[in-house]
C-alpha cells in the first residue's frame, strides 16, 4: 500500500515537472533600461530602472504631440529638412565603415558602423571636457524604420528590438563632475 502511494506521488511529481518545464523555458527574463546620473561634486545620484516590457506597453497608449501609437512623427521643419528616415535607412544598408571623423584642436568626433552597432564617439579635449559614447545596435535602427510611414519612426518596435538585443551599454556621458550612463540588462537594480 505504502509502495503504491509512493509510486503515485512520484508519478504526480514527474507529471508536474513535465508540465511546468515548457512554461519555465518559455518564460523570458525581464529586461530593464537603466539610467544613472552621478554628480561627484555635489554627491548626488539618480537611478532610474524601467522594465522594457512596461515601456513597450505604455508607449502605444501615449498620444500627444508627435507621439502616437508608439510611433513618433518627425516634421521636416524640426530636422532642418534633413530626411532622418532616409539617413537611417542608408546607414542600415551600408557595410561597416567610418562615416564621419572630425579632429579638431579640442574636439574629436567619430561616427561609424561597427559589428552591427552604430557608434558615436565625441571627445572634448578641453580640461574637464565631455566624453560621449553612444552605441546603438543596428537591430534597433532597423526596428525604428519598420512598419512606419515615411515621416515616422517606430519607437515601440525599437524597444522590442532593444529587449532582444542582449545586454548593452547604450550611452555614457562624462564631464568633470557628472557621469550619465544608460544601459540595458536583466538586472532589476542599478549597480
Amino acid at each position: 500500500m505504502r509502495k503504491r502511494l509512493c509510486g503515485i506521488v512520484m508519478v504526480c511529481i514527474l507529471a508536474a515537472m513535465v508540465g511546468a518545464a515548457p512554461a519555465a523555458m518559455a518564460a523570458t527574463a525581464e529586461r530593464y533600461l537603466h539610467i544613472t546620473v552621478n554628480d561627484a561634486t555635489k554627491g548626488e545620484s539618480v537611478n532610474v530602472n524601467v522594465p522594457l516590457s512596461m515601456a513597450e506597453k505604455i508607449l502605444p497608449t501615449l498620444n500627444k504631440g508627435n507621439l502616437h501609437n508608439g510611433h513618433v512623427t518627425i516634421g521636416s521643419t524640426e530636422m532642418n529638412d534633413v530626411d532622418i528616415r532616409a539617413l537611417l535607412d542608408a546607414l542600415r544598408t551600408s557595410p561597416d565603415n567610418e562615416f564621419v571623423t572630425v579632429k579638431e584642436k579640442d574636439q574629436d568626433v567619430r561616427v561609424a558602423k561597427s559589428n552591427g552597432n552604430l557608434v558615436v564617439h565625441v571627445r572634448d579635449g578641453a580640461k574637464g571636457g565631455e566624453k560621449v559614447d553612444i552605441t546603438i545596435p543596428m537591430k534597433v535602427v532597423d526596428a525604428l524604420l519598420s512598419n512606419t510611414k515615411n515621416n515616422e519612426l517606430d519607437i515601440s518596435a525599437a524597444i522590442r528590438a532593444l529587449s532582444d538585443a542582449g545586454d548593452a551599454l547604450l550611452i555614457t556621458v562624462e564631464d568633470a563632475s557628472q557621469h550619465v550612463r544608460i544601459w540595458v540588462d536583466s538586472k532589476n537594480a542599478s549597480e
Binding site: 525581464e30 530593464y32 555635489k42 554627491g43 548626488e44 545620484s45 539618480v46 537611478n47 532610474v48 530602472n49 524601467v50 522594465p51 516590457s53 512596461m54 506597453k57 505604455i58 502605444p60 497608449t61 501615449l62 532589476n188 537594480a189 542599478s190
Partner: protein, 145 residues
Amino acid sequence: MILFGKIALGIVGTAVAGVGVLCSEGMIEVKVVERQPEVHHVYVIAPAMLVPIGMHFAPQRDLSRVATQIRPWMPTIRAALDQLRDSDDVTLVEVKEPGEHVRVAKEGGSIVVDVQDENETVHVSTPIRAISSTIEQLAASGPTI
C-alpha cells in the same frame, strides 16, 4: 444554548467575512519617524479598501475636476499598473543627495515610497490593486463626456 451558539457563529462568520472583504485589496502602511525637534513615531496600517470607500465622502465637484484631468491618461495608467503588477520587484527610482535619500520601488504587490532626510523618515506602502481601483473610481466619478 444551541441558539446562542448559532448566533455567535453567525456573528463570528460575518466578522471574518467582513475582515476578509476589507483586506481583499491589501493593506496601506504608513510609517513616519520625526527626529526634530522631538522624536515622534507614527505608524498606520489600514485596509486599502477604505480609500475607494472614503472617496464617496469627498466633494463631488473636486472629484469631477480631477476626473476630467485624469481621464485622458487612463489607458496609460492602466497599462503601467498592469505591467507593474506583473513585473518582478524593482527599484524604479532612487535619488541620493547628501542627507537625503528617496526611493520608489515595486515590492511584492505594492508600490513602496521611502524618503529619508536628516529630520524624518517616511515609508509608504500601497497595494497596486488598491491604486488601480481608486484611480478607476476617480476617473469614473463626474460627468462623462
